[in-house]
Symmetry: C5
Subunit: 90 residues, 5 copies
């Protein structure tokens, strides 16, 4: 899993039916998780209720679909936890 900060969300009106009802959060990876230098972002589904500015645990790949009971949805990243002491990852 990776740790990142929730920095916003995106809206997609025209999308796969299987994605309806999901929130798409913009995640900025913690610098420690990103060997290429700053700024790497990804979009993750949120079923935990993370807010902007929170540091979260993101699961990627098939773990995001299967581990979040959306086995048949086109999802490859999901927020699966909120880090208690996020300030350590700024």
């Amino acid at each position: 899993m990776l740790i990142g900060k929730v920095i916003g969300s995106v809206v997609s009106t025209r999308k796969s039916e299987k994605l309806i009802g999901n929130k798409f959060m913009v995640i900025e990876l913690a610098a420690q998780m990103n060997g290429n230098g700053g700024g790497n972002q990804m979009i993750a589904i949120d079923n935990i209720g993370a807010g902007i500015g929170e540091f979260v645990l993101v699961a990627t790949g098939s773990a995001a679909r299967i581990g979040c009971d959306m086995e048949n949805a086109p999802i490859d990243a999901a927020i699966v936890g909120i880090i208690d002491d996020g300030s350590r990852w700024m």
Copy 2:
């Protein structure tokens, strides 16, 4: 998922039978999604009807096959949504 801009398409006459009928769009990843510096592109199947210049949500890996009801096709990336406010990602 990643966000990218549809910048074109490719045609493949000789291809896997399982790919017949699909459109192959050229996606340029948004700079924010690409820690290596500009220019990274990938090819994604499009079932949403995205047009050139639109910013889209791309699912990668097994999510592209299974989440798009093409479980047995050799597909590892698919456009699964069109971003409403694409200008933010230019």
Copy 3:
């Protein structure tokens, strides 16, 4: 999927039984697909009949096994199409 140029092949006499009968092509990724700078190569199975110098569509991950009807073989990349206008990707 990624686009690359077929630049050669490799021979492996001692290999997994499940790989017998497959051709292993050396693929050089198109510069546009390779944010790290030139030269990234991978080995892909070829069931399409691509020739040296042709630009091809490569599917990676589980899509290569499952999408090419070799579900139980240790294959993580496969040529799944030949690009009609390859010169664009040189």
Copy 4:
């Protein structure tokens, strides 16, 4: 698999139910495993009982879920072994 050093852990009180009872260890990849330069970290589940400072073998992707008997959990990295001669990887 990758080799990394356990450098700490993270706590997540609000998380997926399927993750309850797991420990989330912070892994710093060995320099040899990290072509981008130092510092790349990831979060892995630990079922082996690794301690801070130990060098461990980390399995990623579906191998982490399926190989650790947590097929339905949103887990994409797991500690699967402790390296006997860790000093070699410092």
Copy 5:
């Protein structure tokens, strides 16, 4: 698949039960496979009997588990062939 050179092995006494009996080889990716500059290594299971100094074909991801008949083991990389003309990849 990727090509790399077998440069050693690692021993793990405390490990997942499902890994017992496997050899863990240290693979240094061929420079052509590694756009980030020299030195990237990974650990792969060996069922082919590769020796130190040999150049091998490595399958990654679910292909390593499923293609090597270890579907339930936490394995994400496996040596699946030995390259006949390894000198080309030095």
